[in-house]
């Protein structure tokens, strides 16, 4: 199994100038929620030029699908241009590329509800804001999403109190 290295994963995407938003558990952590996650969930722009840059980044990351990793199945441009979820493994750990999340939210829909966050030296990423993250978790309605909602809500309250 590849060693998880979130920062190297983000730096690789940045080097290839991929347009994406950090969502999911990592977005919660970056906003201050004390939760743990083992993958990086991103909503990417499905524009043709961005998909091409993303494919180049995925090649460098040696990305293939987590299901049946022994078959080394790799995502294609048409996969990345779809609304579907590509659950990948990379040389820096699991990476989930999400064409849409919640009630049909795309990169373009979500971009206004995101903020730039400095995560390392010279590395700034766009992260879904906490309010929108909570709304989407509420829409998803799966147990794993519902479980984290109280922590996200209290984190938002504490942030507002400051």
């Amino acid at each position: 199994m590849a060693k998880i290295d979130f920062l190297s994963l983000l730096r690789t995407l940045d080097r290839h100038r991929v347009d994406y938003l950090v969502v999911g558990g990592m977005a919660g952590v970056l906003h201050g929620a004390p939760i743990t996650t083992f993958d990086l969930d991103l909503v990417h722009s499905r524009r043709e030029d961005n998909v091409a840059r993303l494919l180049a980044a995925l090649k460098e990351l040696d990305a293939c699908y987590r299901i049946q990793p022994e078959r080394r199945l790799r995502p294609s441009a048409s996969h990345l241009a779809s609304a579907g979820h590509q659950l990948l493994t990379t040389r820096f750990g699991p990476l989930d590329l999400l064409g849409e999340i919640g009630a049909g939210y795309t990169y373009e829909n979500l971009l206004p509800g995101s903020v730039a966050v400095q995560v390392g030296e010279g590395l700034s990423v766009r992260v879904l804001n906490l309010e929108t993250l909570i709304t989407i978790k509420e829409q998803l309605g799966e147990d794993k999403d519902r479980a984290v909602i109280p922590v996200l809500r209290r984190t938002l309250e504490e942030k507002r109190r400051r």
């Binding site: 970056l30 004390p34 743990t36 209290r154």
Partner: protein
């Protein structure tokens, strides 16, 4: 110098739904980069334990 004052009773440690607010306050005292480092540290620790137990 140590501060011997007890924590303020107006500052609850847990929310009504059981969320540990002290952990949230600690996370909010960090920069986003430090929060990422903290998560990476947890993941590294768990991965090392798994490796030592032959679960990799």
């Amino acid at each position: 110098m140590e501060n011997d004052e007890p924590p303020s009773p107006e500052l609850p440690t847990h929310s009504e739904d059981g969320v540990d607010l002290t952990l949230i306050r600690w996370m909010l005292s960090l920069t986003p980069a430090e929060r990422l480092e903290a998560l990476q540290g947890i993941v590294d620790f768990i991965e090392s334990v798994r490796r030592e137990n032959g679960q990799d």
